[in-house]
């Protein structure tokens, strides 16, 4: 064992101890954070030992940092919010246990250790989701999640065993090294890749197994924040650390592109039909996870890393500040939007496309200079960004005052700068051996572009022509969530009910019914 590994173990042990002690204090988290920082610093000076149980790569360090930030906010928030609960000690036990397990997953190099801590996260989180066991809907969501999680774990374990059989090791670093030396696909590798892709989709709450993520807003606000900002990313994480192997398998890549791609579009559209703030946020998570997975499948690792980090921070904040929904509404009511005219749309589209082209060109030049690798952006992501900027620029007027095109262009340029700047900043965190992104207008790129066009067209239709027949039909279907989760609910109830057993009369009735059938 080497020094950095000792500090990592210490970090996990401190959190585990806090769980054992059921403490509401922040000190264990601070010490764990310090310990992890020391470990990260040491990693800079030491050669990473690929035979170690634990391992820190730049990617893992930056995710670790994000986890600590979110954990700090969640614990800080919980101290006050949960203080008066009768079972607060249980809350703290399982919160700290979840955090310990999350940290362990992020730093595991040994795949069985990773798997075990992965399971531990889910089991600890389950206890937090049923923190109010008297709430049937909370139980329903937890049971649903329990079933999905066990399925995902089974997939992952099978994949791990297959990888271990093929490479004759459980250490991820060794596996990746062996793969880069000899990238030959076998059936077991293909199966493993598909299973990992499915694991990621299950853990990232992709359609049609998204229901648990939506319904766990039954849990206390800070738990929702932790789940949506931290735990749900695990699917993305597992894909990011195994990407070279998984995406060498076209079937795995296409499973992600299709499922996550549809999820990104549909969840985003369903999101706008939701009636309550937390449920809106939950659908948005499902959509955002979809987009992140699509970016990984397109080989846009640096963008996916930015997405993972930024989304976590944003979503943690959005959940914890859900109590300001009333003030958000007031802010909108003070300056209600004026519908944009067609010439606004046209001008904005031209400007938006121009800004994005400018940014992409600058990015490509800079990237080639800095990292000596070509950084061609796929069309799809540029399209998405252009659509976003067009909307920003076109819808700049309120009923009372016109927004200045200059000011809004400046804002758009700032966003372009931030977007490409962050991509550049994230590039060093992508392991050197990773393959480059899908080519401009390659098949995956075209597919995703198509989906993005679908998203833009449908949301424009709903927004600009809400009274058209087709819009009304669409909005009803979206409002019903495409009837997807109902099956999951029914299935979950069938194997794990949430209510106490019906009284004896009912049993008698069932028996009578059975007899009658005979």
């Amino acid at each position: 064992m080497i020094a950095n590994e000792i500090f990592l173990w210490l970090s996990v042990a401190l959190l585990a101890l806090a769980a054992w002690q059921q403490t509401a204090r922040r000190l264990p988290l601070v010490l764990a954070g310090v310990s992890a920082t020391v470990a990260s610093a040491l990693t800079l000076f030491l050669d990473t030992d690929a035979t170690a149980l634990l391992q820190l790569t730049p990617l893992r360090v930056v995710i670790l940092a994000m986890i600590f930030v979110v954990a700090w906010a969640v614990i800080n928030y919980s101290k006050q919010a949960i203080a008066e609960e009768q079972n607060a000690h249980r809350y703290w036990r399982w919160l700290y246990a979840t955090l310990a397990a999350v940290i362990l997953v992020i730093v595991s190099n040994h795949l069985l250790l990773l798997w075990a801590s992965w399971v531990a996260i889910s089991l600890s989180l389950h206890r937090l989701l049923v923190f109010y066991p008297e709430r049937p809907r909370a139980k329903l969501a937890a049971h649903k999640k329990f079933i999905i999680a066990r399925t995902a774990e089974f997939c992952l374990l099978t994949a791990i065993v297959l990888l271990a059989i093929h490479f004759d090791t459980f250490l991820l670093a060794d596996i990746l090294a062996a793969w880069s030396e000899d990238p030959v696909l076998t059936t077991e590798l293909e199966v493993a890749a598909v299973l990992i892709a499915i694991t990621a989709l299950l853990k990232c709450a992709q359609l049609p197994v998204h229901g648990w993520l939506i319904q766990v807003v039954e849990a206390p606000t800070p738990i929702s924040a932790l789940l949506h900002a931290g735990v749900v990313n695990l699917g993305g994480f597992i894909l990011l650390v195994t990407a070279p192997i998984v995406f060498a398998v076209p079937m795995a890549q296409w499973i992600v592109l299709v499922v996550a791609g549809f999820t990104a579009v549909l969840s985003a559209l369903i999101m706008i039909t939701r009636v309550s703030i937390k449920v809106k946020l939950a659908w948005s998570t499902s959509a955002q996870m979809g987009m992140m997975l699509v970016e990984i499948a397109l080989g846009l690792y640096e963008l996916a890393i930015v997405h993972l980090l930024a989304h976590s921070i944003y979503k943690a904040y959005a959940f914890l500040s859900a109590g300001s929904a009333v003030n958000q509404t007031l802010q909108r009511r003070l300056a209600q939007a004026k519908n944009a005219q067609w010439h606004d749309w046209l001008l904005s589209l031209v400007l938006g496309a121009g800004f994005v082209t400018l940014g992409a060109t600058g990015y490509a030049l800079f990237s080639e200079m800095m990292f000596a690798k070509s950084a061609e952006s796929p069309l799809s992501v540029l399209l998405l960004f252009t659509a976003a900027l067009t909307m920003l620029l076109a819808q700049r007027h309120s009923l009372e005052v016109n927004g200045s095109i200059l000011r809004f262009s400046a804002l758009a340029l700032l966003l372009v700068f931030a977007y490409f700047g962050l991509k550049i900043a994230a590039t060093p965190f992508v392991p050197a051996l990773y393959p480059s992104s899908a080519a401009f207008l390659s098949l995956p790129d075209l597919w995703v572009s198509l989906l993005i066009l679908l998203l833009v067209v449908v949301s424009m239709l709903l927004h600009i022509f809400p009274e058209r027949n087709i819009s009304q039909k669409l909005s009803m279907i979206l409002f019903a969530g495409l009837y997807l989760d109902e099956w999951a609910t029914r299935f979950t109830l069938a194997i794990w009910p949430i209510y106490p057993r019906a009284n004896d009369k009912s049993k008698r009735h069932q028996k009578e019914k059975a007899n009658a059938h005979r």
Partner: protein, 820 residues
């Protein structure tokens, strides 16, 4: 219920029954103006006990606290045998018992879970295999989700805004439900969806249809309808609010646009339709279950009449509830002075401060008066009698700052220059557009990728959006407008005159503070419940600023003597705001005050410390001994902490409303449990002021009192549950607890419960009035609503004359309240 020979020809009886049920629901205000309401306001024509009993039976809601609450109070000696005996006697429940206390103690202890009528859907659930979703739960969920979508204003979904055909609530629901394949799946009822086709297209037809199909006896229709509405009581209350808006116009139809006259009936139709759906579904596809459920259901309704007369347990609660109130009244009477205390050595009054009647004002007023003998305080409704609505200049938003019972007659906006206005509109536009953009479906991804990280610092600091309307109102100069014209001097003088007369000033000190109040909290969906109820759930800032501007207006001051009001020239009216979280009193005017006997900062700081300590001693005894500075820091932190679930205790434990001269109560510690309104009978010969006080502020205090009571007695229906689970619906319509269920109304658990015990004692309001018996009786005789409230036991009216025992007014008779 399924009587064999029920006749349904008499449609008019049914219609009347349905209308009766529909008018029984009290409104609930939206989150940005959540004023307190008595959820049983529309039952005031019935006795309190009778209502509690009736609703307990048909909807399983409680009007009294749980037995343990009274038993605890008894064991602590807070309810004595004397009070039980007295209460039993008053309710004529003693039934020949010579020693009622042990009897009622026993019957309270024996009180088990009580039966209540189930809806048919609930009855089916009792027999349903637990591997299936429960009907009733899914029904409430479906109706609730639909209502939220139908009513949310900013982004009308589901084609509601269609210009071609405005759909009524029921028709809209039917349209959406007929294409919803999900219900059949989730309920494991594959043939459910086609049944929606069989439902009539109009609400009235549907109601007739269901009454006939379920074979309801005419006697049962009203209760059945009420039980249906109580199953979706939150949304029914929202509909009641929309209808309320049609007769108290606030100039703001943001929440009540397109309200239909029969919207409650539409909602009822939806809920009744579901009863038919369940009934028909099991009848057609699960005959065994149908037989079981119908039999049990029918039996319940058949036995109903008998059960309602079996009143012993309810009586026990009533006796205990009244006993608690009598104990309080006894203690209160002992506290009130027996002889008039005039000031020992008359000090010149140099400052008068007018506060809201709010129970929180009582504490700070006492603390302020302790600072100097030359300080007087007054109690008045916190909107200061100026019925205004605030419209931030250049915006479409209109916000009432007038009690929910009244309509604002004036509109005020800030006086801004063109440049200031343009700058403001631009700033507001930029913020609102960025917010809208961030949540648009195609933009959300890029928003996260480009600017998601800027939420990092906010996340660590806990920074959240403040109330942007409040932020606009910190302005000195106001335009006061009626209809569309600015008020002239005569009109302003009219306002000033009316207000000053109602405030019953004897003389004016050189400095008169008009102290509105507001709470401070962050990230709090129910923030407005802590603000001033008289200002429709806003802070009193705008009202106090506007009134001060009127009263300081030189031309108005020149006019007032002509109307018999002499204000010394030196008198200044200064707007101020009492922060009820920190007990700061902040002056809203930057004038230099000279020649005061004591520096004003010292006065206010001194009062603050006393009030802070008193509140902590009352609510958190563990923190009472902390040094003053730490207490101050602690309370300040609460107002700024985004994770704080209870920035302050609000109006918890309110118990009395005292209408009397302040000099009578000045030296009495009323423990922050009393609303106080100044009243000087000598200055009110024609009883105009008394009438106003009994018909407006008294109703408001009754509503507040009942909201707190019911949030404790029936937290499920009349309380909004755990704040940690709150989830704002439709922007600011209300909250869900968790991801769905019915809309929740009333106060959150954290507002009345400290984790171990209830901090609000549910007891009906005791109103103490210092006026002649005849005056009070006359006012009551003229107002039916007062007779209802008094004679049906919704509140207690006691008359107070210095040196005399408190006299109780009940059913037109005067009696000594508590004999010695």
């Amino acid at each position: 219920m399924l009587t064999d020979n029920a006749e349904h020809k008499d449609g008019e009886v049914e219609l009347a029954a349905i209308s009766n049920a529909c008018r029984r629901i009290a409104p609930t205000w939206p989150l940005d103006q959540s004023i307190a309401v008595n959820p049983w306001w529309e039952f005031r024509d019935q006795g309190y006990g009778e209502t509690a009993q009736h609703l307990q039976h048909i909807a399983a809601v409680d009007g009294f606290a749980a037995p343990e609450f009274y038993l605890d109070a008894y064991s602590r000696g807070e309810i004595s045998d004397w009070a039980i005996a007295r209460a039993a006697e008053r309710l004529q429940a003693a039934s020949g018992n010579t020693d009622p206390a042990p009897f009622f103690l026993q019957s309270l202890k024996n009180q088990g879970k009580r039966d209540h009528l189930a809806l048919f859907s609930g009855q089916v659930d009792k027999f349903r295999d637990n591997h299936y979703m429960r009907w009733q739960e899914e029904i409430v969920h479906q109706i609730s989700q639909f209502c939220a979508a139908h009513f949310q204003s900013l982004r009308p979904m589901l084609g509601k805004s269609s210009a071609r055909e405005k759909k009524s609530l029921y028709a809209h629901w039917l349209e959406v439900s007929r294409v919803d394949y999900g219900l059949s799946i989730v309920l494991s009822a594959p043939k459910l969806r086609p049944l929606f086709r069989e439902l009539p297209d109009s609400a009235d037809a549907l109601i007739q249809f269901v009454v006939a199909e379920l074979n309801l006896s005419p006697d049962d229709v009203e209760d059945f309808a009420l039980a249906c509405l109580y199953d979706v009581h939150g949304w029914a209350s929202w509909v009641a609010y929309r209808q309320w808006q049609t007769h108290t116009a606030t100039g703001d139809d943001y929440y009540s646009a397109d309200v239909e006259s029969a919207e409650m009936r539409e909602l009822l139709a939806i809920r009744m339709a579901w009863e038919w759906l369940v009934f028909t579904y099991v009848k057609r596809y699960d005959n065994g279950l149908c037989a079981l459920a119908s039999e049990a259901w029918r039996k319940q309704w058949r036995q109903r009449k008998g059960k309602e007369n079996d009143t012993e347990t309810v009586r026990a609660e009533e006796v205990w509830g009244l006993a608690l109130e009598l104990e309080y009244q006894k203690r209160l009477e002992q506290k009130l002075p027996k002889v008039a205390t005039e000031k020992q050595e008359p000090t010149k009054t140099w400052m008068q401060a007018v506060f809201c009647i709010d129970v929180r004002s009582e504490v700070i007023r006492r603390a302020l008066e302790q600072q100097h003998d030359g300080i007087e305080t007054k109690g008045f409704a916190g909107f200061f009698g100026v019925p205004l609505a605030y419209q931030p200049k250049g915006s479409a938003l209109v916000r009432s700052q007038t009690p929910g019972l009244l309509s604002p007659a004036l509109r005020v906006e800030e006086w801004l220059t063109q440049q200031e206005l343009h700058a403001r509109l631009t700033r507001l536009n930029n913020k609102a557009r960025l917010q809208t953009w961030s949540s648009a479906a195609p933009a959300a991804f890029s928003m996260v990728e480009s600017m998601g990280l800027i939420y990092g610092p906010k996340l660590l600091k806990g920074e959240v959006l403040s109330n942007s309307v409040n932020d606009l109102s910190h302005v000195q100069n106001w335009q006061i407008i009626a209809e569309s014209d600015e008020l002239d001097v005569q009109a302003l003088t009219d306002v000033a005159e009316a207000v000053l007369q109602a405030m019953s000033f004897k003389n004016f000190a050189p400095l008169v503070l008009l102290v509105g109040h507001g709470s401070e909290s962050r990230n709090n969906l129910q923030a407005s419940a802590l603000d001033c109820g008289a200002c429709c759930g806003q802070t009193g800032e705008v009202n106090s600023r506007v009134l001060a501007q009127i009263l300081n207006h030189p031309k108005v001051r020149a006019e007032l003597p002509k109307r018999g009001i002499d204000i010394p020239e030196e008198t200044r009216f200064v707007p101020a705001l009492h922060n009820t979280t920190t007990d700061d009193i902040r002056l809203l005017d930057t004038l230099k005050l000279q020649d005061l006997p004591m520096p004003l900062e010292d006065v206010l700081a001194g009062a603050r410390s006393i009030a802070q300590r008193e509140r902590l001693t009352r609510f958190e005894p563990a923190k009472a001994a902390l040094p003053q500075k730490e207490q101050d820091g602690l309370l300040r932190k609460r107002g700024r902490d985004w994770s704080q679930q209870r920035p302050e205790w609000g109006l918890v434990n309110n118990a009395a409303f005292i209408i009397a001269p302040r000099s009578w109560t000045r030296h009495v510690n009323l423990e922050g449990r009393s609303f106080l309104h100044d009243y000087c009978e000598a200055k009110d010969p024609d009883k105009k002021v008394l009438t106003l006080l009994m018909t407006a502020p008294m109703i408001v205090t009754h509503w507040i009192n009942m909201q707190y009571n019911m949030s404790v007695c029936e937290p499920l229906k009349f309380g909004s549950g755990n704040k940690v689970l709150h989830n704002a619906v439709g922007g600011s319509i209300g909250v869900f607890e968790g991801n769905g269920g019915d809309l929740r109304i009333g106060l959150a658990r954290q507002s009345v419960f400290d984790g171990e015990k209830w901090l609000h004692t549910p007891q009906r309001l005791t109103v103490v009035i210092a006026a002649e018996q005849d005056s009070i009786a006359d006012v009551v005789a003229e107002h039916k609503v007062l007779q209802q409230l008094i004679d049906n036991d919704w509140l207690h009216i006691l008359q107070w004359q210095i040196g005399q025992p408190l006299m109780r007014f009940y059913k037109g008779e005067w009696q000594q309240n508590i004999e010695n």
